[in-house]
């Protein structure tokens, strides 16, 4: 059996089509309704409530906690203030990404790391000889993402904290209807949104409070299918889809550096020693060989391919995750690792890994599309990520 999340008692009765999927050994809803359109729309128009409890979570405390984290991840953790959250990647000593996630400074010497994969061993190895306690709290802590333009208004109904004062990537310890929670202004949708961290035993009352207060605002439980579309629009990468952990890659070609994944901004120019620094410095100097970029597929070109088959364009209703070749001048120059039709931008989008020098924004490339069992190519333009970046995300 798969594990269930602390919100299972509430989420399970809502999953109309029994569309479950596996996430880090847990059963989570792919979609609650039979079609996930409304769930996606809630992320961009009202507020979606997502159960993200399967994330791995570690509590790191002690005098050397900051030393451990700073040595392990690429971001300069010494600059992270109490109440601040950093998104970061972390690498092996060859500068290849192991995982990515958030580092939250909960208190003076108290930190929380979230990750897509288990990292207890890596943390322990890096913390050897340090005055640091590492505790996995994945099962003890439920996590909800409340994402969308009305998320702030909903939280304001149930919590005494001042959410207009809570800046992007900051957190606050507060309550929801009396239940102690940590709320961070973070998420995986690129929209205005919050993540709520709560003790597993207190998870259900928090869900109930949000649903009750959120209903007049159109709060909608949303599953992974909706989330997957939103995160592609936001240009956010996913482990095991858009890249592979260097700890699990079987060959060198399966590994990626943060620079290749377009995470340059998480690799500071000036920072004390950390794992992978020397390699990343050299790589930055000579320029990465690959880069993850956005692809916007040219509609006219796509339509023509379908028209030739006597069909109107057929678009996937959910995001896809199948490696798809990208060509330029008849030569394969990379591959797209995920993509979707964006109902918001009215564009067919993909995240693609392209070889130098083809990743310059504006480059014209061709993405393989299968039309009636035939492999064809549609024109696409290399686009800077994110595709969608609303002002409300940070305002």
């Amino acid at each position: 059996m798969l594990k269930t999340t602390p919100f299972h008692a509430r989420t399970a009765p809502l999953v109309q089509g029994q569309a479950w999927r596996r996430w880090a050994g847990h059963a989570v809803a792919s979609a609650y309704e039979l079609v996930h359109d409304r769930e996606y729309a809630a992320i961009r128009n009202s507020a979606a409530l997502l159960d993200v409890s399967p994330l791995y979570k570690y509590l790191i405390s002690g005098r050397d906690a900051v030393r451990l984290l700073d040595r392990m991840v690429t971001r300069d953790i010494t600059k992270c203030r109490v109440g601040q959250v950093f998104y970061t990647s972390w690498c092996d000593r060859h500068g290849k990404v192991i995982d990515d996630g958030t580092v939250s400074r909960l208190g003076e010497g108290r930190w929380r790391l979230t990750s897509a994969e288990p990292n207890l061993r890596w943390l322990s190895l890096n913390g050897a000889g340090m005055d640091v306690q590492i505790e996995e709290v994945s099962a003890r802590l439920g996590a909800l993402a409340l994402q969308g333009p009305l998320s702030r208004a909903i939280l304001q109904q149930v919590s005494p904290a001042d959410f207009s004062a809570l800046k992007y990537f900051r957190l606050t310890e507060t309550t929801i209807r009396g239940e102690p929670v940590t709320i961070s202004r973070t998420g995986y949708t690129g929209d205005l949104g919050y993540e709520i961290w709560v003790d597993a035993e207190r998870a259900v009352p928090v869900w109930d409070a949000l649903i009750e207060a959120g209903t007049p605002y159109g709060i909608t439980p949303a599953g992974i299918w909706a989330l997957d579309m939103a995160r592609i629009e936001a240009g956010l990468i996913m482990l095991d889809v858009d890249y592979h952990s260097s700890h699990h890659a079987l060959i060198e070609a399966q590994k990626s550096s943060p620079l290749e994944l377009g995470l340059d901004w998480t690799v500071p120019q000036e920072k004390g020693p950390y794992t992978g620094r020397a390699v990343l410095r050299a790589e930055r100097a000579r320029g990465p060989a690959w880069r993850l970029v956005g692809l916007a597929v040219d509609w006219v070109s796509l339509e023509a391919l379908y028209a030739k088959a006597g069909l109107p364009p057929q678009l996937p209703t959910a995001a896809w995750r199948v490696s798809t070749p990208v060509y330029r001048n008849g030569e394969q120059i990379g591959y797209a690792s995920s993509g979707c039709w964006s109902p918001l931008l009215k564009q067919y989008l993909a995240l693609a890994h392209l070889r130098a020098p083809h990743f310059t924004p504006g480059s014209e490339v061709r993405l393989e599309v299968t039309v009636e069992h035939q492999r064809l190519q549609a024109a696409a333009t290399v686009t800077k990520l994110p595709f969608f970046d609303p002002e409300r995300k940070k305002s």
């Binding site: 880090a24 288990p118 061993r121």
Partner: protein, 300 residues
């Protein structure tokens, strides 16, 4: 094909040792049956059907257990119950073993060259070996070198903390040897657990439908399809030798069977010292066979 016993297979037989119950009496699980043998003999056509070995369980002294399943999440959770660190290490250990298996696999079916010989075929063989090892790169070669020389206990100590896990993994490091888990060289035997191949799925272990003996029967059917004649209850007494060449065999009871080539499936000592008159062989071969050490180490 001549077989002394009433059924073919040697140690890979399934017999009804209690009325109504069939047992794979010696060889009990399959993983190292080389895929090229399966392909060349078209074994699936002749009845090869491997059923997956889905799970294993190790009972512990305290009434608890250590289980392992085909599902990685389930297995990880079970191991994490005993040691969260080991649960993560197991994945990385598995990947290293994959790399090591990939490094060793091409060598398994190579005829080892004689390093002291200057014959072109041996020199070519040595070159091929050198090229292969160079292709591994320093890091993997180092890992392979450790794996080839360390004891399984030392090797596992580098990775894991939960003793029952190390013990069960060690057990696969001493199978088929007369060694203990602390004997040097046993780490390499560990690797064999990761090298089993079934249906091309690397590392999987399984059971033949009908017991291991059914694999022998499958091979027998493949042989018959190629025109072989199989006689059971036909013990070979000695090999006929004329002018320094084997020309056939004599069965118990005196029947003579002539053949241009005689292939023996018996161990070399019985083949060369009992079935063949040692005086028919070069003295150093006889001496070499006498010195050749092999002992059985598994029993059921």
């Amino acid at each position: 094909m001549l077989e002394r016993r009433p059924l073919v297979g040697g140690a890979a037989v399934t017999e009804e040792i209690f009325p109504g119950f069939k047992f794979s009496v010696f060889s009990y699980v399959v993983s190292l049956l080389r895929p090229e043998i399966i392909r060349d003999l078209e074994l699936p056509r002749h009845g090869l059907q491997i059923l997956p070995l889905e799970s294993t369980v190790v009972p512990l002294d305290n009434g608890d257990y250590l289980g392992s399943w085909a599902d990685p999440d389930q297995t990880r959770r079970e191991l994490a119950r005993h040691s969260p660190r080991d649960a993560e290490a197991a994945t990385l250990f598995g990947r290293l073993m994959h790399h090591m298996a990939m490094a060793v696999r091409p060598i398994l079916s190579m005829v080892p060259p004689d390093p002291a010989s200057l014959a072109p075929s041996d020199l070519r063989g040595m070159l091929k070996f050198a090229g292969h090892f160079r292709s591994l790169g320093a890091e993997r070669f180092h890992a392979l070198y450790k794996l080839m020389t360390m004891s399984s206990a030392d090797y596992l100590d580098e990775w894991f903390e939960f003793d029952p896990l190390k013990a069960t993994k060690s057990a696969s490091g001493i199978i088929g040897t007369f060694l203990g888990p602390r004997s040097p060289g046993t780490a390499y035997v560990l690797l064999h657990h990761y090298m089993g191949e079934i249906d091309g799925a690397f590392r999987a272990w399984g059971f033949q439908k009908g017991g291991t003996g059914a694999i022998s029967e499958t091979i027998a059917r493949a042989a018959k399809a190629h025109g072989a004649e199989i006689r059971t209850g036909a013990a070979v007494e000695r090999v006929l030798v004329r002018n320094g060449r084997a020309t056939g065999v004599v069965l118990e009871g005196g029947e003579e069977i002539h053949a241009p080539v005689v292939v023996s499936g018996l161990d070399p000592r019985r083949t060369f010292l009992e079935l063949v008159e040692p005086s028919q062989l070069p003295g150093d071969v006889v001496e070499g066979i006498r010195r050749f050490k092999f002992r059985g180490s598994s029993g059921r």
